[in-house]
């Protein structure tokens, strides 16, 4: 069990002949994932990473290999095209690692994917992993994961690894870990993932890692209050980001302030989530949650 991916997942990697695509395809394979195909237009007929066949199109890859999940590493400018190509080839789950997709392209893409009934994870995300099924569709280091019964969902990439690292260090295994991505518009949000965890018999409790900016954590809190039936603990990072500082060209914006982090913490606490006090306390809080719900 676990959510979205499992032993039956057959992965096609779009952009497999690129540096990152190749590196992470191999890393997924090494973890035990069924990477059954790659796609790079004009490179059809080659094989990479041992015996993974490369095709010119996702459609061909799906027809020839039965791929049902796509993992995308193409450059930002080609990413919308790649996601739509996967959706049109009837790949039901698309995981887009690429970052830098213009927001207005994401507006169009989200409309289209809704219409097609295709689930997108990301973009600009680390992907997801199901340790018990030895299935990794993303760029997270597989070695830090441990099969188990705690679900992890996060807007962040490396902070997810941090969370998982703390869990594993205490022997708390994970049912599934999903990094949903940090862009303003993403395909799948906290609530979507929480619903899946709620229905997953292999998940006993959930760790949610949020941050300042947006209102997705408030939405999650509303769902936790109304419909979520499992123990959950949550961390909000960015409490110490200074409010209202005008940023230069570089850093865009400090979108939240500590008040904003506080309002998210409050919403989650009011909804019944256990709050993780600092980023250093993820593992311990999850352990306490486990113990108190035995």
């Amino acid at each position: 069990m676990g959510i979205l991916i499992d032993e039956r997942s057959r992965i096609v990697v779009q952009g497999i002949t690129g540096r990152e695509g190749g590196f992470h395809a191999k890393s997924c394979l090494d973890y035990g994932t069924q990477v059954v195909a790659g796609v790079t237009p004009g490179r059809g007929g080659q094989t990479v990473e041992g015996n993974v066949p490369v095709f010119d199109s996702v459609k061909e890859a799906v027809e020839k290999t039965g791929a049902n999940v796509s993992l995308i590493f193409v450059p930002a400018r080609a990413a919308m095209d790649a996601v739509v190509e996967a959706a049109d080839a009837r790949v039901g789950l698309v995981v887009c690692i690429s970052e830098g997709i213009p927001v207005q392209d994401m507006v169009k893409l989200s409309q289209y994917l809704d219409k097609m009934g295709v689930r997108l994870i990301g973009p600009n995300c680390p992907g997801l992993i199901n340790p018990a099924a030895a299935c990794k569709v993303g760029i997270m280091p597989g070695s830090i994961h441990l099969p188990g019964r705690t679900g992890v969902v996060s807007r962040s990439g490396t902070l997810t690894y941090e969370a998982v690292g703390q869990l594993t260090a205490l022997g708390i295994g994970q049912s599934s870990c999903v990094g949903i991505g940090g862009d303003p518009i993403i395909g799948t949000d906290f609530v979507d993932i929480l619903r899946l965890f709620n229905d997953d018999p292999a998940t006993d409790q959930v760790v949610l890692i949020g941050e300042i900016g947006g209102a997705m954590e408030q939405d999650a809190a509303a769902y936790i209050k109304d419909g979520f039936t499992k123990p959950i603990c949550a961390l909000i990072v960015g409490a110490t980001a200074p409010p209202g500082k005008r940023m230069g060209h570089a850093g865009a914006i400090i979108t939240g302030d500590s008040g904003r982090a506080k309002s998210k913490v409050k919403a989650l606490r009011d909804a019944g989530a256990v709050i993780i006090p600092t980023p250093a306390d993820i593992g311990e809080t999850a352990q306490n949650l486990l113990d108190s719900n035995k």
Partner: protein, 407 residues
């Protein structure tokens, strides 16, 4: 206005993006040139770069005008960057006092930002000030048109104190902004029929500008109702999305790098997300979330981060070196905390980049290093053998403790 999110209740209208990605700001006069292309009425005006040009412009406008410092910062009025002048002497004096100088506003740091251009504009007789903007509604994943009768004020304040005063109309990207939506919004602005029709045209132009130029925000604040009942955009804000600039080579030339913090500009040019903060602990982190978490943990142990820095996912050795060089260039930094969780970025690459930057700058500042993930052992080995003053830590909190205890 500042650059924070606008939220009304639990709905978030994006005016900024997460740390790690960016908008490109442009000057008011550039934004107004775009407005004019999309049929949005703006005051007659000229740009002046010298007091003489300013005087000539005032003369061309009939002897009276408003002079506005062109800077990428809100709060210009409070900072003394805007003045109505009634004579060429006044114009000359004001222009001479600003051009070539730095302007400090409530939204800049103490150093301020340089003023090299003034916008000289005709005066309008104003009866009311409205607010109009297009941005993205993050929850609905749709563009949204925002209007308010409370123009001329900080809109986040309006959203906080009187959220019902802001009206939003989501826009379907297939259909575009429709006349009935314009009628509905104009209705909230208490306009007569002629002004309502004009408002509809302005909204429609503003939406086309937003879409066609790939903006993250376009804003008219205030949109003035003149004594004659006409509408005119007194101010103009256009933020262009960095990620989409490749589609708009002309817009790339609108950048004004003099308006940016030097280190932040340097980082931006390398696609490194960097924000200068007040503390002394330089931070090298990969990932925006982990970078924020690292700051939070540093604060927890009573220390203060000198910066937010996300070196990015696929960073090369050169990029890491550049990031560390930027950290070391900050005179406030007297120690560095490294928190790298190897994913796309491999720890060995990060280690080599750090060493390269220390070598190039000749720095000997102490380092606390916490590394995990892809190629972590080679990375640690490289650092261990580098001769740098490195303390290794297994956890974030250990690293924070270690660096805070350096004397």
């Amino acid at each position: 206005m500042s650059n924070r999110e606008l939220r009304i209740g639990n709905r978030v209208f994006r005016q900024g993006r997460r740390w790690g990605s960016c908008e490109m700001k442009i000057h008011e006069h550039q934004a107004k040139a775009l407005f004019a292309r999309y049929g949005i009425p703006v005051p007659k005006g000229e740009v002046a770069t010298t007091p003489e040009e300013a005087v000539q412009a005032v003369r061309n406008l009939g002897g009276r005008a408003v002079l506005k410092a062109q800077v990428h910062a809100g709060g210009r009025g409070k900072g003394g960057g805007i003045k109505v002048v009634q004579s060429k002497e006044e114009a000359s004096e004001f222009a001479a006092g600003l051009l070539g100088k730095n302007l400090v506003t409530p939204q800049t740091d103490a150093q301020g930002v340089p003023v090299s251009h003034l916008l000289v504009e005709e005066l309008a007789g104003i009866s009311r000030e409205l607010y109009l903007a297009v941005t993205v509604d993050r929850g609905r994943c749709l563009p949204v048109m925002l209007v308010s009768k409370s123009g001329g004020m900080n809109i986040e304040e309006v959203a906080t104190t009187d959220p019902d005063a802001i009206h939003a109309e989501p826009i379907d990207p297939v259909l575009g902004f429709l006349p009935y939506q314009a009628r509905r919004l104009a209705d909230k602005l208490d306009l007569n029929d002629g002004a309502a029709a004009m408002a509809g045209q302005i909204m429609s132009g503003l939406y086309r500008l937003f879409v066609q130029q790939d903006c993250s925000l376009v804003e008219i604040n205030p949109l003035a109702v003149t004594a004659e009942g006409e509408l005119i955009a007194l101010d103009a804000k256009v933020d262009l999305e960095d990620d989409a600039l490749f589609r708009h080579p002309d817009n790339q030339e609108l950048a004004d790098h003099t308006q940016e913090n030097e280190l932040e500009a340097k980082a931006a040019a390398l696609a490194i997300a960097y924000v200068k903060l007040d503390g002394n602990v330089g931070c090298l982190v990969n990932g925006a979330g982990l970078a924020m978490a690292t700051m939070d943990v540093i604060s927890t142990v009573g220390a203060a981060p000198a910066n937010f820095l996300d070196v990015g996912g696929g960073a090369s050795e050169e990029k890491v070196a550049a990031a560390v060089t930027i950290i070391l260039s900050d005179p406030d930094v007297d120690r560095v905390l490294v928190n790298i969780f190897g994913g796309i970025l491999r720890c060995d690459i990060a280690a080599q980049g750090i060493i390269q930057a220390y070598k190039n700058t000749g720095s000997s500042l102490p380092l606390a290093v916490r590394m995990l993930g892809t190629n972590v052992e080679p990375g640690k080995k490289i650092l261990r053998e580098s001769g740098l003053d490195v303390t290794f830590a297994n956890t974030m909190i250990e690293a924070a403790h270690a660096i805070s205890q350096v004397r």
